[in-house]
């Protein structure tokens, strides 16, 4: 069996198993369903890794139903075009699902075996999303992913908060999905095609108002999923209430897939037409990225509900990742793919740690848990390591990704960008440090409360146990350590850049898909020295620690360091904007779309 024949399996097998568990789960019992689901996810991990190895700097195309493209590049069928970037995202999705399913071994007594099939469907959808080479197929997997996610988010239906979170998530994302359908329709009206390569070739270097509108609608739709400000409001609500293993998938890979989709549609279809306006588009995307990073970081520090805190940190890092795509350069995109992987495992590990806290201490609010976690040193250690990773300090893989994006930013004379990254890293890592010191060490003053942290989250396990079960601790530890192990892979940065070069080359992409011409593997370039990035990230780490200590001991220190406390209290206007009202969120979505559309009209028209 060659690797290409394996392409449909990471989608087909979990789907079939999901149907099987849904049917016979009650008969076979909880444990058997769990074991079967974990085995399927682990098998998926193995398959996606094999696919990654086979497509390493060697994109491959697979036509469903043997419908190869016909004369004049007309593709009637759907294809998977797997390259290193997509393949590695599928590995991440399978890895995090396996970890999440393992973690859930001990929790959820009463899902009637509906939880495992939904997780498997979620995983299959994410794999299909990263592999596909077809515009509408991308949307189908996007919806499959969303529907599974909505249901998983509302799992704890006994309280109002999960319902509010899941409903807001569902409504806002659905509006985004309709925008994507409109965008696809408009592109189809122009080109009569749905295959990325075919649409890209048909558009060529022409761009007009219709194409620009399609680009606007499609990218806004995916940016809703990617939680880019001002489309991000749903994310914090959804994360705060989702079960921890589900949060791992939301933050670790689903959000990133939204940004990946923007990158994919831009480079396969729109880059030719927008070539004359790259500078303007870059500026627009970078401004959005910077705002996202700042808003996410500020809200993250002001939050005391542990999961919501991590959720806002994801928004801040999503800004960083959008910058990786928005620089519109292979090097930055390579940095993006590395950052996604390392951030995904670290953030996933942190969410599992939050799940451990909820399991052991029965609460999730930092203000309620002051000093409660004393004695849980291993978990505390994982939190500290995770914060270290969020700061992007060595030896974590996040450093490599961030340094590539920063280097690329300097090449485009955007030297301000690394400082924004630094700000986001200091504040988000500082927030996790602060929470760890309070919960596990009992340091400093009591945390000020905010409304969200008052929500009593129902623990996911039934009985309080004295120790942390291995199925909870090991997945969390493995994920966070993988964030370190990633940076030990040889030639990682140069390979990522080479993979990104293949990703961004519209011409060779279309040739590979439509004519089956294998693109030449790009030469590996020597990566730039890491010295400046290491220095910067070590400063960031030190400042993050200082920030955390400053707000812990704000009463004892005086003067200008008091600002750390006001940072913790949060900005009242920003807080008020996150109102929890779905109407507000959709109003912001309309506002963002209109504003972005206005900028497109102004800066990108012919």
């Amino acid at each position: 069996m060659t690797a290409t024949t394996m392409f449909p399996l990471p989608i087909a097998i979990p789907l079939a198993v999901a149907a099987f568990i849904a049917l016979s789960g009650k008969l076979l019992g909880r444990r058997f369903s769990d074991a079967l689901a974990i085995a399927t996810a682990a098998a998926n991990l193995w398959m996606t890794i094999s696919i990654l190895r086979a497509t390493w700097l060697q994109p491959q195309t697979y036509w469903f139903g043997n419908w190869w493209p016909r004369a004049h590049d007309v593709a009637l069928g759907i294809c998977f075009t797997v390259d290193s970037v997509g393949a590695s995202l599928a590995v991440l999705a399978s890895l995090l699902t396996t970890a999440g399913l393992l973690f859930s071994w001990e929790i959820f007594e009463d899902t009637e075996n509906h939880f495992q099939p939904l997780m498997l469907i979620f995983m299959a959808a994410m794999c299909g999303f990263s592999y596909t080479g077809d515009l509408f197929n991308l949307f189908v997997f996007f919806e499959l992913m969303s529907v599974a996610a909505f249901a998983l988010c509302g799992l704890k239906t006994l309280e109002p908060a999960p319902l509010q979170g899941a409903y807001n998530f569902g409504l806002v994302n659905t509006v985004g999905a309709f925008m994507i359908v409109m965008g696809i329709g408009l592109l189809y009206a122009r080109t009569g095609a749905l295959n990325f390569a075919q649409v890209g070739r048909s558009l060529g270097s022409s761009s007009d108002a219709l194409v620009l509108l399609a680009f606007l609608l499609i990218s806004v739709g995916y940016m809703v999923k990617a939680a880019i400000v001002p489309f991000h409001f749903w994310l914090a609500d959804a994360h705060a209430v989702s079960p921890s293993p589900v949060c791992v998938l939301f933050s670790g890979v689903m959000v990133e897939l939204g940004i990946y989709a923007v990158a994919r549609v831009y480079w396969t279809m729109f880059q030719g037409g927008l070539a004359a306006h790259t500078r303007e588009l870059r500026a627009i995307l970078l401004v959005m990225a910077a705002i996202t990073a700042i808003v996410g970081a500020l809200m993250c520090y002001a939050e005391h509900h542990l999961k919501r805190l991590l959720a806002f940190s994801t928004i801040a890092h999503a800004g960083l990742m959008l910058a990786g795509v928005g620089l519109l350069a292979p090097k930055a995109l390579g940095g993006f793919s590395l950052y996604v992987l390392s951030h995904g495992v670290v953030k996933g590990g942190l969410f599992l740690c939050a799940g451990i806290v909820l399991h052991r201490l029965r609460k999730i609010g930092e203000d309620h848990l002051h000093g409660e976690g004393k004695g849980m040193w291993w978990t505390a250690g994982l939190f500290l390591l995770g914060a270290w990773g969020l700061a992007g300090a060595p030896p974590f893989g996040t450093l490599l990704g961030e340094s590539m994006i920063s280097d690329s930013a300097k090449e485009f004379h955007q030297a301000w960008l690394p400082y924004i990254f630094m700000f986001a890293e200091i504040v988000t890592a500082g927030a996790v440090f602060r929470a760890t010191f309070r919960i596990f060490f009992g340091w400093g003053e009591l945390a000020p409360t905010d409304r969200s942290s008052q929500i009593e989250e129902k623990p996911e396990t039934d009985e309080e146990e004295e120790n942390v079960p291995a199925v909870m601790f090991v997945p969390a530890a493995v994920l966070i350590l993988l964030g370190i192990a990633l940076s030990a892979v040889p030639n990682l940065r140069s390979t990522a850049e080479a993979g990104a070069q293949l990703f961004t080359n519209q011409f060779t992409y279309a040739q590979a898909v439509l004519q089956n011409v294998e693109p030449a593997a790009p030469a590996l370039t020597a990566p730039e020295p890491l010295t400046s990035s290491i220095v910067r990230s070590c400063i960031a780490l030190a400042l993050a620690l200082l920030l955390a200590l400053g707000s812990l001991f704000h009463k004892r220190i005086g003067g200008w360091l008091k600002f750390t406390h006001s940072l913790e209290l949060g900005n009242p206007i920003l807080r008020k904007a996150h109102s929890g009202h779905p109407g507000d969120y959709v109003a912001w979505l309309s506002f963002g779309t209109a504003l972005l559309g206005g900028m497109f009209v102004w800066f990108l028209r012919r």
């Binding site: 509408f136 905010d450 929500i455 929890g580 109407g583």
Partner: protein, 115 residues
Amino acid sequence: MLNYLTYIVAAWIFLWGLYGIVTSKNLVHQVVCAAVLQTSTYVLLLGIGFKVGGTAPIFADIPVGTSVVDPLVQALMLTDIVVEATVMALLLSMVVKSNEVAGTVDPEELRVLTG
């Protein structure tokens, strides 16, 4: 103007759907507004596939080679309908639950998570 009517109608429905969602004071009503919003995509897709003089793409009783409208947009629309129906079912089940658990279907009163 008439040549662009489907596009205008689609945008019109789309914006009214958004208006409904934003101003709604009842979650059931809000979900139905999302369904209204969705119909804009039907109009848009069907308009795109329409061909002057084209008939339905079913060759059971017309000779092969007759001019027909684009069947693909209809296939896409079928997917679209299924997606809509399923998402609405899920959202409505959350609304029913919210009525049961929180005793309200007003988005204003369901706000637990803020800031």
